[in-house]
Amino acid sequence: MASKQTFGGTVKTCAAGASAALLAMLACVACDAHITGGSGGPTPPGGGLTPRGGVGAGGGQGGGGSVGVSGTSCEAMAKSAPLPARLRRLTAVEYTNTLRALLGDSVALPALEFPPDAALGAFHNAAALLRVTDLLAGGLAQAAQKLAQTATQQLPQLLGCDPAQVDEAGCVRGFLQSFGAKAYRRPLTSIEQDRLFAVYTQGRAGADARAGVALALQVVFQSPNLLYRSELGAREATADEVAVTPHELASELSYLVTLAPPDAELARAAMTGELSDAHAREVQARRLLQLPAAKVAMQAFAAEWLDIGKLPTVAKDPAMFPTFSADSARAMQLHTEQLFSRVVFEGDGKLRSLLLGGLLTEPSVLAAHAGAQWSSPTHRGKMIRNQFLCQVVPPPPPGLIVTVPPATPGVTTRQRMVTHASDPTCAACHVQMDPLGFAFEHYDAIGAFRADEKGLTIDAFGQIGGGTDADGAFDGATALGQRLAESADVRGCLAEQWTTFAVGGEVDAAFKCALGQTLADFRAERLSLPELLIGVVVSDAFVKRHVNRP
């Protein structure tokens, strides 16, 4: 009995035992509070785990092609457009790529710092969370001013005509029309052209052509038509389900595969209207996948999925890890991203190859999910649970002391955490994390291999539970990787993670139904990641959106 009296109330600690009555009560709180997220699905095994998004591929009941949803309802759901008609604000990377494409490589872009965006799971590109706040609007205005100055330095070159030599108004009007179409990724309406020209006229007054063009460009660089990728379909559409327009489709395709705006070939395809044809989309997607930008985009997914992008700002104890710095962190991150894109683009693109290729023991992955001084099996296990099994572990219940005993000579990290397993209150949740994280005990807080822990023998034996087909025991990180590599549920989870990133939103049951065969094939290891991408691109869900569905 080690409850303690604090300010008149009794609290409970994970560093020692506690009374049975209190235990039951606290465990109950943990379950009550967090099982509700499961959309009425079956109560998950293992005490308090919830699949992401309600009908997770990680739920383990999926098997075969049904992806955890009963056949009839899935058929019905698969017919309608699963995604809502949205406006997707560009991410910081997409915005930079967009300006780069507009201005060419010769124009130096000023540093563009977006205020941090909120994340959906691990991903910072969720349409619902990307907003234009006052800080972003202010930052964009400032950046647009600088950019416009830089971009207009060689005015005739930019305009494609010399305003000093030809009819200035005609020259500028023509430029704004073509440049605007590239920026807005669709032809401008005459009202929009006039509006930009009016801004040019204002800036021109009392100054010169360059000042006028620069002012009009300030509008273009922070325009909502550039900032948002529209999925709204045609303005005149009236049905509850709308078709994404050809120009919108071109943007969907290019930002999906390259995180960049449509290139000339895609813009051409948008003009012909051919992108409503699934085969034409596939041809374009395969072409884009050959571009270097596709590799960068896939690396961006990997960085978000594994949450290694934060590594350069993660704190490590400088006394213990003098070699760790922001620069070494970036190098570690790049190494992992390159491993990922090598398997995806030069290898077979299978999760098995990533796992057996050592993805889990990449220093960046292990360092990003560790403490400042210690390995933190809990954090590492939680990452595997969330990102590879698509199961969410609830946060500690209230009133629980979450102290890990301080490091003591002669005691291993694993031994420090013994209460997590021996105390039922703690174990209810920690059993989902720590036994997974123990796999990595041969790697310290910066992901470096260690044969022993200050002379003490390391025990890297662990166990996966939770009701997926990955359940079972393993010894060490390599064995864990092998176990995950055999699992269809883990592949299903990766498919879910990637599609969440791809569509910038929660992957719900309807969307999974719409991608039924593709997801089933990916689970069955018949598809690579690029082929999963193709499967999404050719689907009806990619080209249709629902409007104001009740």
Partner: protein, 464 residues
């Protein structure tokens, strides 16, 4: 000499220049009774990690208390205690009632009193300073100002419950408040033309946004997104108009940028600079509603400048408890540092004359925390301090205690608490919403609840 130390020197030198006091014009308002009154400003202030009450609590009685004793966290505030209201025993009850716990709920509820939306970073309602800024902030160039120090996370939420970002870089806060290097000054023809041009850009952007907003059958979520965008543009327009009409302060020395203002090396200087910006933004009536947050919830950042060069989350906050004096005293150092920064702010505000009083007399600062007891991750007994003269709206100069029972779950408290049952385990907790409601009433809002209908009424005995 390394580049970073060079940068740091330049940065600190720039800060020194910026701290010089600025000539500001004064604004007067007519109050309801016809007397001239300065507007009341609001700052919500957040620091993380919870506290250790034995060293946080004042010693003495309600009206005769001392903040100076061995290991006192709030000792630095002793000179201002006539303008302090130390509120002991408020609970972030909404966190428990809505199933939220730990750092997640702790970074949502302090100024919203609203539940965190499950599995998101969203709140079920706005934070109090944003709510008031929406209602009352329209007269100033900036509706609200949100500043952060050291890997901080904003505690500000929009009406739609989205977390708003805060500005961590003092040179950018400066630009936000005073314009680019102050070149947009009244009476300068070139500057005036530049401002008119910028207004032209904003007008064109608003027209484009309106085209999008008029899209037939736009879903509510998308419309909300565009409405927020429109508000941002309108605020920018108002700011430009304010600058064009000379409603700004004289140009201060611009600050130099550094690579990582969040790094511990820079935190003390950044903190002072942000507080300077804040003081001047209030003094010049550029905004009346502000938020300042120090470090994120559950921050692990070491604080060598406070004498705590270790992981402040795992090695300090998690270790606090009865008989764990080493950790408790480290938490004292951390809290003393925060209190020192608050004292600096109070002193700055108090040094600016406004009529017969000072800016501090016309300011209300509400200082809250993510947690109560850090090791327990508890939302009961969360430390709250109100500071400033509050235009006489609050009865200041007191140490008030609520929630005599304490504890998270009344089922675990002996002797049994009246009204406690398995279905009502939080019956005894004093919801801090009552403090938020009192703040709203101090700002003239005729409201009895804020974001949580279950907790009605203002904290008793607070309002004058």
């Amino acid at each position: 000499m390394s580049r970073s130390s060079l940068d740091r020197r330049r940065f600190l030198r720039a800060l020194g220049g910026a701290a010089a006091s600025l000539p500001c014009f004064k604004m007067l308002e007519r109050s309801a009774v016809g007397a001239t009154e300065y507007p009341l400003r609001l700052l919500t202030l957040f620091t993380p990690h919870g506290t250790w009450l034995p060293y946080w609590r004042p010693q003495g009685t309600e009206t005769d208390f001392s903040l100076v004793y061995e290991h006192s966290m709030l000792a630095a505030l002793e000179p201002f205690k006539k303008k302090l209201l130390v509120v002991d025993g408020l609970d972030h009850r909404i966190a428990y009632e809505s199933g939220g716990t730990g750092h997640g709920a702790g970074s949502v509820v302090p100024f919203t009193g609203a539940p965190q939306i499950a599995n998101t970073d969203d709140s079920m309602g706005p934070s109090i300073e944003q709510f008031l800024a929406d209602k009352l902030g329209g007269d100033t160039t900036l509706r609200s100002l949100r500043l952060g120090v050291g890997w901080s996370k904003s505690l500000s939420f929009t009406t739609a419950g989205k977390r708003l970002p805060s500005e961590n870089r003092p040179w950018e806060s400066f630009r936000l408040v005073f314009g680019d290097g102050g070149q947009a000054m009244p009476g300068n023809a070139a500057a005036d033309a530049a401002l008119r041009n910028q207004l032209g850009v904003v007008n064109a952007l608003k027209a484009e946004l309106d085209d999008l907003r008029l899209f037939p059958r736009l879903a509510t979520e998308e419309r909300t997104k565009l409405d927020e965008h429109m508000t941002a543009l309108s605020d920018m327009e108002r700011r430009l108009n304010g600058l064009a009409n000379g409603k700004g302060c004289a140009a201060p020395t611009p600050l130099s940028a550094v690579d990582n203002p969040d790094a511990p090396d820079f935190v003390p200087a950044v903190s002072r600079a942000q507080n300077d910006v804040l003081t001047q933004a209030f003094a010049c009536d550029i905004t009346r509603f502000a938020a300042l947050s120090y470090h994120g919830q559950g921050s692990e950042a070491p604080m060598p400048y406070a004498g705590v060069n270790m992981n402040t989350h795992l090695d300090v906050a998690h270790q606090v408890g009865d008989g764990k004096e080493e950790a408790n005293l480290n938490l004292v150092k951390i809290h003393q540092w925060y209190a020192g920064e608050v004292a600096y702010l109070l002193k700055s505000l108090d040094s600016i004359r406004e009529g017969d009083g000072t800016l501090l007399d016309h300011t209300m600062i509400v200082w809250s925390n993510e947690l109560g007891d850090p090791a327990v991750h508890a939302h009961f007994n969360v430390p709250h301090v109100v500071a400033g003269g509050t235009n006489g709206r609050f009865r200041m100069g007191r140490y008030v205690r609520y929630n005599p029972v304490g504890g998270y779950d009344c089922g675990a408290i002996q002797p049994p608490v009246a009204g406690c049952s398995p279905g009502n385990r939080f019956a005894h907790l004093d919801a801090h919403n009552a403090l938020l409601v009192a703040v709203l009433q101090a700002f003239g809002q005729d409201m009895q609840t804020f974001n949580a209908p279950a907790y009605a009424g203002a904290l008793p005995g607070i309002l004058a």
